[in-house]
Subunit: 189 residues, 2 copies
C-alpha cells in the first residue's frame, strides 16, 4: 500500500462527507458517494461507522472542534488583541470560502431537520457564545458577565449574517463594514 499518501481511511471518509455535504447538501451524502469520494469500498464506510447517523454524528463532532478554535485565545497576545483577532478570524479568507460557508449552511439545515443533530449543534453554539463572552470579559474588565453575554449574542447575529450574506454573494465591502460593526459592539463604552 502507498503508505505515505494514504492517510488513514477512517479520517478520509469524514473528509469525503464534508466535501459532499458542502457541495450537494445532505441529499448528496449517501454511502456510495462517500465511498467513491474517499476512494474506498462501500463496505468500509459501514465498517468504521455503524450506520449513517453515526457517520453524520462523527462529522458534527469534527466541525465542533474546529469551531471552538475560532474563539480560543492566543496566550501570547493582549486581551484586546485576542478579542480583535477572534472577531477578524471569522471573516478570514479561509473561512469565507464557499466550501466552508456552504458546509455551515447545510449543517444548520440539517440541525433544523433533525432533533438529535439540533442538540449537538445547539451545544456547540453555546460553547462558542461562552468563548466569545469570555474574550470580551477579558478585554473589557469593567463589564458585567451579563453585559458580556449580551454583546456576544449581538455580535453573533452580525457574524451569522456575514456568513450567510457572503454565501449569497453580496460584495465584500459590506462584509468589511460588518466586521467593523462587530468591533464597535464589542468595544463600546
Amino acid at each position: 500500500m502507498n503508505a505515505g499518501e494514504q492517510v488513514d481511511r477512517q479520517s478520509r471518509i469524514l473528509d469525503a462527507v464534508l466535501e459532499l455535504l458542502s457541495r450537494h447538501g445532505i441529499s448528496g451524502v449517501n454511502m456510495r458517494a462517500v465511498a467513491r469520494e474517499a476512494g474506498v469500498a462501500l463496505g468500509l464506510v459501514n465498517y468504521y461507522y455503524a450506520d449513517k447517523p453515526s457517520l453524520i454524528r462523527a462529522v458534527l463532532g469534527r466541525i465542533g472542534e474546529s469551531d471552538m478554535r475560532l474563539v480560543s485565545p492566543d496566550p501570547e497576545a493582549l486581551p484586546d488583541e485576542q478579542l480583535r483577532d477572534a472577531l477578524r478570524r471569522v471573516a478570514a479568507p479561509e473561512i469565507l470560502t464557499t466550501q466552508y460557508l456552504s458546509l455551515r449552511l447545510h449543517l444548520w439545515a440539517l440541525a433544523q431537520a433533525d432533533e438529535e443533530f439540533a442538540a449537538i449543534n445547539a451545544e456547540a453554539f453555546d460553547q462558542y457564545l461562552d468563548g466569545l463572552a469570555a474574550l470580551i470579559g477579558n478585554a473589557k474588565p469593567g463589564l458585567s458577565p451579563e453585559e458580556c453575554k449580551d454583546r456576544a449574542a449581538d455580535i453573533v447575529v452580525v457574524q451569522n449574517g456575514m456568513w450567510l450574506t457572503s454565501l449569497l454573494g453580496i460584495d465584500k465591502s459590506s462584509i468589511e463594514r460588518s466586521i467593523v460593526r462587530t468591533e464597535e459592539i464589542a468595544f463600546a463604552d
Copy 2:
C-alpha cells in the same frame, strides 16, 4: 366533493411542499410524502407538476412573491414610516416563526446545492435589495443611489443574521437590539 373546504388541489400540493420542506428539509420532500400531506393521490402530483424540479420551481416562485411583499411600500404612509415598517416587518411574529425561518434556511441550502435554484434565489434576493434601497432613497432623499444600496446591503447582513440566529434559539432581546441596529444604519446622517 366537499367543494367548500376543498380548495384547489394544485395549490394544496404546494402548501404541502412548504410544510414538508420547513419541517424535514429537502430530503423530506418526496412525491409520496407530498401527496400524503396534501391529502391527494401520488399520481396527481405528477399530473400538475411534470417532475420534481418543476414542483420545487413552483414553490420557489411562490416564496419569491411573498418576499417582495415585505419591502413593498404602503402607499398611505410617509416615506419615513414606509422604511421603518419594512424594517420592523422582517422581525414580525408571523415571520419569526420556526416554520417560516426553517423554510428560509432550507431554501438557502437548496440554492447552495443546485445551480438552477441558486439563480432563482439570487434574482429574488437582488429584487429584495433593490426594494429596500428604494425605500431608503425615499426616506432620505439626500443620499446617493450608491449609498442607499450600501446601506441596504448592510441592513440585509443584520437581517439575515437575525433570521438565522433566532432560528438557533438566541433570546429575543438580541433580536430587538438588532432591529434597532438596522434602523440606525438606515437613518444615519
